[in-house]
């Protein structure tokens, strides 16, 4: 057994999980407030990565930025830009595709959600084509540090340790994602707007009677959820330096699974689910089943739905009779 590889994979899982968690938050927030699976959410994430690509090519960044001050400034610009643009896209989607159907049968908004997903993908496909696109990795993807865990043996069982590499990109992504999740929790729990969101999620009509502006609150939820997906899009380009027009589908499916696994409607659950799914994915590749990782994730989704449909942290929701 190699403790080094194990640790390395854990770290990789942490990075991927951070991105899944950011996307899963959007699914879970939207589901929590209007009980809609926002199929377009994965594509919002994908568009976020292309927005970053556009930004970098417009300001002429083609390579790693080594000057720390310039790098920090650029990162702030990238995240702010992608998050604001995607947040607005999310609000627009809600305004034009979902809001008019709030009283329609449940099937209707699900179908428009799929339509929006088509539209977003096709716009990117028309603008950028179907090939993988290289996005400049502004943080040097190789920079970092490495360490070695001690090798030891328990009885006859030897544990070796190869070198574990931690790159700054990974550290940055995980720290950023965790910071955003904490900020979100604080926002939802401590501010008036956050309270409005929670009350709308629990009982829309009662919230309305208490003076909560439902339309604004739902729009805000979409803004935050989509902005987080935009942030995940930037993180994706930092980590992989690649993006493609149908990236959002896979990532969206996995993140949704994460949201269900954690308990849909529960923001903490979404984060936990994101990390769990990523670990499962990383370790199944490590064991040589990378081709099956999607099948494994999907099987887990079904098993969760069969045995514990409320997820790890979800509450039992009684159907309104």
């Amino acid at each position: 057994m190699d403790a080094g590889i194990l640790t390395q994979q854990l770290l990789n899982g942490l990075t991927i999980g951070a991105m899944y968690a950011l996307i899963a938050l959007g699914y879970t927030m939207v589901y929590g407030i209007i009980e809609l699976i926002n199929f377009a959410h994965g594509d919002v994430f994908m568009v976020g990565s292309f927005v970053t690509l556009w930004l970098l090519s417009t300001i002429g960044v083609q390579n790693t930025v080594n000057d720390p001050v310039a790098l920090v400034g650029l990162l702030i610009l990238m995240f702010a830009f992608s998050m604001v643009v995607m947040g607005l896209v999310g609000v627009l989607i809600e305004r034009f595709a979902y809001r008019p159907l709030r009283r329609a049968p449940r099937l209707a908004p699900l179908i428009t959600a799929i339509g929006v997903s088509f539209i977003l993908q096709n716009i990117i496909q028309v603008l950028y084509g179907t090939a993988y696109f290289n996005v400049p990795q502004v943080i040097d993807p190789l920079a970092g540090f490495s360490f070695k865990l001690p090798s030891f043996a328990i009885g006859g069982f030897a544990v070796t340790s190869s070198l574990v590499t931690v790159t700054w990109v990974h550290v940055f992504i995980v720290v950023l994602a965790v910071a955003m999740m904490v900020a979100l929790q604080v926002f939802v729990r401590r501010t008036n707007l956050g309270r409005a969101m929670r009350s709308t999620a629990i009982d829309r009509e009662a919230a309305q009677l208490m003076g909560v502006d439902i339309n604004t609150t739902i729009a805000l939820t979409f803004f935050i959820g989509s902005a987080l997906a935009g942030a995940a899009g930037v993180a994706w380009t930092l980590n992989y330096g690649l993006t493609k027009f149908d990236n959002g589908f896979q990532a969206g499916l996995k993140s949704f699974t994460a949201a269900v696994l954690g308990g849909i409607g529960n923001t903490t659950g979404a984060a936990i689910g994101g990390f769990l799914i990523a670990f499962i994915e990383v370790f199944s590749s490590q064991l040589g089943y990378s081709r099956w990782s999607e099948a494994i994730v999907f099987t887990i989704l079904i098993l969760v739905l069969v045995f514990k449909p409320t997820g790890i942290l979800g509450q039992q929701v009684a159907e309104r009779a």
């Binding site: 096709n122 896979q250 081709r291």
Partner: protein
């Protein structure tokens, strides 16, 4: 049964559905459509787009989509379940035929038998997927089926030992009907190029496929109508309307939904068998999620719940996709050799999914009953005027 019962039955049928002779009208309708289509394409402007044989080949391909749409309509339109992994059952049907009739497996079971086998296998797959998930809320079903639709091609790709992986299985046997060398007079002199009577199934000759798919569609349509008008069809509609109330009327919602799911899947499997026999090849890439979404777009456009409507929707969408956009390219290329003003050179084919997306959103917002709505659905979705009319009637009474 009493005479009164007979009379009330007649009124009931006449008032609500297509009429009493459903099967008859399907057969006649399909026969007329099948007979007319090959001649329409001989007239301009269609004659300029391709040969009659090309068109008939395209029509037999369109038939696959019509079948898929009729099947998905049972799931989405009647029972109100969103199935986004419909292509998975299509793939399962196609691979079943590949096992049943190809040199790869060494079996050669007759096509017509394999149609039933493919449908049955797909129905079982539907059962396996539906049983654990259909007891959950509807939106979970959407995501589970989406995942299933994504996984099935992956499984077919990765199990190279059994499926020949990405290369797929080739040289599937093409069907053979009872030998068509019946003493039918050679009509090709009178009727333009009606190759049907001259050959058997093959790549150069789409006619037998065209006729067979029309026959298969007719049968499937009749079955769909009969199910829709039965106790089971009413249960589906009740579940679509209000699942809890349906359960409180004694409907076992899980088994009823499962039946809708399995029946929809079996139609998809049937279409898969037909398609693989026509193309003589199966490979995992044919069954991506775009197939599922395209069929959904067809059903929504055609008008959910209306069997003729979704069939027409599927046909129109397929023809626009395969012929319309291409011809639009040619047309624009002719008149604007330097590209459209403002837009420049536009390849309309790449906009296909944008159009689907806009169509889905637009239809849901503006015309949720579809392009070819059933009478019932139109009534449902535009109830304001009806309600007013009803009140007037009440006052008068």
């Amino acid at each position: 049964m009493t005479a009164a019962a007979r009379a009330s039955w007649a009124r009931f049928r006449g008032g609500h559905f297509f009429g009493r002779h459903q099967s008859f009208s399907v057969v006649v309708g399909m026969a007329i459509v099948t007979a007319i289509l090959p001649f329409i394409v001989l007239a301009p402007p269609f004659s300029g787009f391709g040969t009659q044989t090309d068109f008939v080949d395209g029509f037999s391909q369109a038939g696959v989509w019509v079948l898929l749409a009729i099947g998905l309509n049972v799931v989405v339109g009647l029972a109100g379940l969103l199935d986004l992994g419909y292509a998975a059952f299509f793939a399962i049907g196609a691979y079943t035929y590949a096992y049943g009739a190809s040199p790869y497996s060494g079996n050669h079971v007759a096509f017509w038998v394999m149609l039933l086998v493919g449908a049955a296998v797909a129905a079982m797959a539907g059962l396996l997927l539906g049983a654990p998930t259909l007891r959950l809320r509807g939106d979970y079903l959407a995501i589970v089926t989406l995942g299933f639709g994504e996984i099935v091609p992956v499984v077919f790709t990765n199990s190279d030992q059994y499926t020949n992986g990405t290369n797929g299985i080739t040289a599937l046997y093409q069907p053979s009907l009872i030998n068509l060398s019946l003493p039918i007079p050679n009509l090709s002199g009178i009727l333009p190029n009606l190759g049907l009577f001259q050959g058997s199934y093959g790549f150069g000759n789409p006619w037998p496929y065209y006729i067979s798919v029309a026959a298969i569609i007719s049968v499937v349509m009749i079955l769909a109508y009969r199910l829709q008008d039965s106790r089971l069809g009413r249960a589906w509609m009740a579940i679509r309307e209000d699942e809890l109330a349906a359960a409180s009327m004694g409907i076992n919602t899980v088994t009823t939904k499962l039946l809708a799911f399995a029946i929809g899947a079996s139609t998809s499997g049937l279409a898969g068998v037909y398609l693989s026999s026509k193309l003589s090849i199966v490979s995992p890439t044919q069954f991506g999620f775009t197939v599922s979404f395209t069929v959904l777009a067809m059903v929504v456009l055609g008008g959910m719940g209306n069997i003729w409507g979704v069939a027409a929707g599927a046909f129109v969408v397929y023809e626009i996709q395969s012929q319309g956009l291409k011809q639009l390219n040619v047309f624009v290329g002719q008149y604007f050799p330097n590209g459209l003003p403002i837009f420049g050179h536009v390849d309309f084919l790449t906009y296909q999914y944008l159009l689907y997306g806009l169509a889905l959103v637009g239809m849901m917002l503006l015309r949720p009953e579809g392009l070819f709505p059933s009478r019932r659905r139109r009534q449902e979705l535009h109830d304001v005027e009806d309600a007013d009319a009803a009140n007037v009637e009440l006052v008068e009474a």
